[in-house]
Amino acid sequence: MASQTLIPAGDFRTSYAADTTVFPTTTSRNAMISGIVLVCFAPHVVNEYILSLLIQIGIFGIAALGLNIVVGFTGQISIGHAAFFGFGAFTSAYLSNRFGIPVFFCIPLAGVVTAAVGLIFGLPAARLKGLYLAIATLAAQYILLDFFARAEWFTGGSVPASAEPFSLFGYMLRGDKQYFYVVLAYVVVCYLLVTNLIRSRDGRALVAVRDHYLSAEIMGINLTKYRTLSFGLAAFFAGVGGALYAHYNQVVSNEGFGIDRSIIFLAMIIIGGLGSIMGTLMGTAFMVLLPESMEWLSVALRGSPIDQFLGLKNNIAFLREMAIGIIIIVFLVFEPDGLAHRWRQIKAYWKLYPFSH
């Protein structure tokens, strides 16, 4: 079946393997591979600014992917994701500064350490569900932020911790152009990992916990284990993303890991589509580009009556915050399945064009 180039109109899959395959057709696989190859040329084509946006999309995309595991696939709620992201950033900087571990190993290590912390805060998840869990993760957010401010040995307190640039076999990667490939490699690996995780028994167990936890338990799925595991996994990817963020900026300050960042992570997966892997990346791109496009718009509107009325220059920060909130509400009310769903509809429309109904 893998030799098909187009999906037939109808469901003709005959085996379980065909149903769970990553790429349903050779076309989609080739499109994905050529897409990645095309992105590889990006640093030589686009300017510095767009390159930095691409790197941000990659970094936040990895962290948002983790959040999508816990929220989208397992159906638990986490409002403290940014704190884990920050924890990963600080851990990676600490490991490389304190123990001199090469940055190459620091990033996955930071993921593992953050996963351990995630498991600790996931313990309430083993016993609680729904909104109680949301409140527990909210507490985790505040406790971790307080920890960052308090633990000067770990974070440097009010002085930002410095993080070394990424190096590979003694070769120092400097500048965005080279760091872009590091992020790209991590994005590809992480997204492949999660895609395959969801196809495995563990992944299906997570989805079963989301869809009907009682049935899942009756079918022999250990709820405690999988709920806690999903938190651990989410924290792992948050940690990896955070570590990449730390070595990208080469400095980790206490700012930017607050509840507002957590809300942005949640917005990313809601806009992209809960329980959709490629949707996560779309949502991340949307949320990274949204404030930037507002910036462009405010520059374009400078001096116009709209600008004078809104006072764009001084108030752009507040307008941005409001836009984030409004976008979340609009998506939840009008497009709860997110961009991934919309993308599928567009594809379905063009596949049958001009005979679509």
Binding site: I77, R127, Y132, A136, F318, G325, I326
Partner: protein
């Protein structure tokens, strides 16, 4: 041991705690009636306080007029939120509803910053005298006012639920929506009313805090402190929320006392409620007075 400081802080705790109690009460009201966890509770305080401040300073409205106008506005505001935003969300999964209230809180917080700026604005003086001497302890008049208003609101709430017909309808809806509906209660209007009352009560609390400390974006922090209070009391118990609020207020100030006298860790009082929250969730998630039918896993 510094007894003077301890007593002062405990009085503080009681005053702040009753305020937490009031906010937690209005939070629980929404949860009980509509099954919505309102993450925007703190922003309701904020909006109420800013509106009152705006009336008092911009239009020089006297306090006894400005306050009722604010409350009427907040009443309508609450109804509007329920009808426009939350009514379409009925029947959606819990995460969507939670996300909507989180998004609402972002929107309101940013909107208030946009309209009124980020700086702390002092509230116009409401009382003439600054301090009252009670049993040798200097207590600020505003504190007494805060305590009195909080207690009055709690009594009013108790009266509303126990004795008024509408309160009865609300309790019936909270108990079983379908049965309530079949007995002729308009669940729709109960939902709207729950938001309206919650917004109004929060606004009163917001104005009280504003009178004591001035208005700023930091007011919405009260919305976060609601969670430890409401969880401690039991998420669906109005009385429990009040008690939980008072306990959290006292705990906060006691932590502050320990911190300043012995531990010197700094900032302990801000984070103590959250540790308490985690511990409560671990050992007794339904709180002191909550119903115990939370599905444990």
């Amino acid at each position: 041991m510094n007894t003077q400081l301890l007593i002062q802080l405990l009085v503080n705790g009681l005053v702040v705690g009753t305020l937490y109690g009031v906010v937690a009460m209005s939070f629980v009201l929404i949860y009980k009636a509509t099954q919505v966890v309102n993450f925007a509770q703190g922003e309701l305080l904020l909006v109420g306080a800013w509106v009152c401040w705006w009336l008092l300073t911009k239009y020089q409205v006297p306090f006894y007029l400005g306050m009722p106008i604010t409350l009427v506005f907040m009443f309508l505001f609450g109804i509007a939120i329920q009808i426009v935003i939350l009514r379409p969300m009925i029947g959606e999964p819990i995460i969507s509803v939670i996300m909507v209230t989180i998004a609402l809180s972002t929107v309101f917080a940013a909107l208030m910053k946009w309209i009124f700026g980020v700086n702390l604005q002092p509230f116009p003086r409401v009382f003439q005298t600054q301090n009252v001497n009670i049993l040798g302890l200097q207590v600020q008049t505003v504190y007494l006012m805060s305590l009195a208003v909080s207690v009055a609101m709690m009594i009013g709430m108790a009266w509303f639920f126990r004795l008024s017909k509408y309160g009865l309808a609300m309790r019936a809806t909270a108990f079983n929506q379908q049965v309530a509906q079949s007995l002729g209660i308009s669940v729709k209007s109960v939902f709207a009313m729950a938001w309206a009352i919650s917004a109004t009560v929060s606004a009163v609390a917001g104005v009280v805090v504003a009178v004591v400390n001035g208005v700023s974006a930091g007011l919405s922090a009260y919305g976060v402190k609601v969670f430890p209070a409401a969880i401690l009391g039991g998420l669906d118990s109005v009385g429990g929320a009040v008690l939980g609020g008072i306990i959290i207020g006292l705990l906060e100030n006691f932590a502050h006392f320990l911190d300043s006298e012995y531990l010197h860790w700094g900032n302990l009082y801000e984070i103590a409620p959250f540790y308490a929250l985690i511990i409560i969730l671990m050992i007794k998630p339904y709180g002191l007075f909550g119903t115990k039918d939370i599905e444990r896993v």
